[in-house]
Amino acid sequence: MSSVTRVVVVGAGIIGASCAYYAARSGLDVTVIDRGGVAGGTTGAGEGNLLVSDKGPGPELELALRSLDLWVELGAELGTASFELEHKGGLVVASSDAAMTALQEFAATQHDAGVACENVSPRELAELEPWIAEDVAGGVLYPADAQVQPGLAAARLLEAAVALGADLRLGEECVALRTAGGSVQAVITRSGVIETGFVVNAGGPWAGALADLWDLPLPIHPRRGFVLVTEPLPPVIRHKVYSADYVANVTSGSEELETSTVVEGTPSGTVLIGASRERVGFSDEWDPGVVQRLAERAVALFPPLARVGLMRTYHGFRPYCPDHLPVVGLDSRMQGVLHASGHEGAGIVLAPATGELVTQLITDEQPAGYAGALSPDRLTLVAS
């Protein structure tokens, strides 16, 4: 028996990459496998939001606040430019006085939970965002909100993990677990057997299927979203700007199509426009109705966008969990199995703290305070 604990991470998206990085940094013997490539699923189809602004008080906000601190550290360690980390701030805007009141009440609860935020008048809004519509009732500015290029971030974390000794095997699909006496013994892939005492399910929206394969069911489902990409522009949209109804959509459990307006620029000049949510399985069918709705709403918020051309759209699948909390922790049904999924649309921001928590649980350190609420054993998950 080797004295170094081995961990196999299944999934090379942002969650798997973070788990690999923090595990390797703590001295574990890490192997990352993915049936595809780096950031080939949900991570590569996201916008790279690092948001605390859309989270109410509770364990997910605590995870996000810890994670934002870790993102700042990662920027210092790995180089902010290498994954386009931008501390641009988030601006949530309300279209009516009633919506503004509700937004301010929500922001007050966040402020009490440690989130920096400040009310912004319509006049100040126009200074912060010159292109914004004149009829916006007001907004709340969240200076801590930030942005990364998620594919680059996953690649950079994996590169750093490999430099610390991790083994990255792409095109390697997990087909089964070998277990004995209620403990993991090995991960079986198409090409061989990897002996290990720990395995981390970082399969994103496919984590449910992976858990089924391991005979450890987990209620993770795909929730599709489209992103529109404009032609490259000079920096005209300065913050991560979104409508207050985005928060209601995120926390909704509806299977129906829901859209809110999320707009941000990128360092390459393109403007990204979201966000739609619908439960349509892993459907790749392009939906012009969704795209039109997102475009119309973005133009309503930023009227000059009407003159701007769209280059393309893309879509991806968020790992959705019915109780709207990530699933991070040890699976009590099988010794050595950990899950790290269910982050919905917040996987990029939550990744570092998720990797840190997974590593704490494997190395038997005192886990962070939110560990219990995120555990796969929680009652709300068992009941769903």
């Binding site: 032609e231 490259p232 522009l233 000079p234 360092p267 390459s268 000049g269 701007v308």
Partner: protein, 85 residues
């Protein structure tokens, strides 16, 4: 042969030819520089999908040279970095 103007020079084109086609025929490979690195860009996909061949035409930036059909009165210019909104 008809011509259009590119960065102050006359570029000949045949009826129906795209700006990209005419520029390549005239020996020109690139007509845009990237926003951050300032690297040269010209045709990549050639079919309107990749948006790499962007050019400024009649004062409007971000036009795809591979789809833009050349005309006698057209004035095109090298696009430096991101376009103008």
């Amino acid at each position: 042969m008809s011509t259009f103007e590119f960065d102050g020079n006359e570029v000949p084109f045949r009826e129906g030819q795209t700006v990209a086609g005419a520029l390549i025929a005239a020996g020109r490979r690139t007509w845009r520089t990237t926003p951050r690195g300032g690297r040269s860009r010209g045709v990549f996909c050639g079919i309107g999908v990749c948006f790499d061949c962007l050019i400024e035409a009649d004062g409007v930036s971000n036009q795809r040279a591979c789809l833009l059909v050349a005309t006698e009165s057209l004035v095109v210019r090298t696009q430096a970095g991101v376009g103008r909104p």
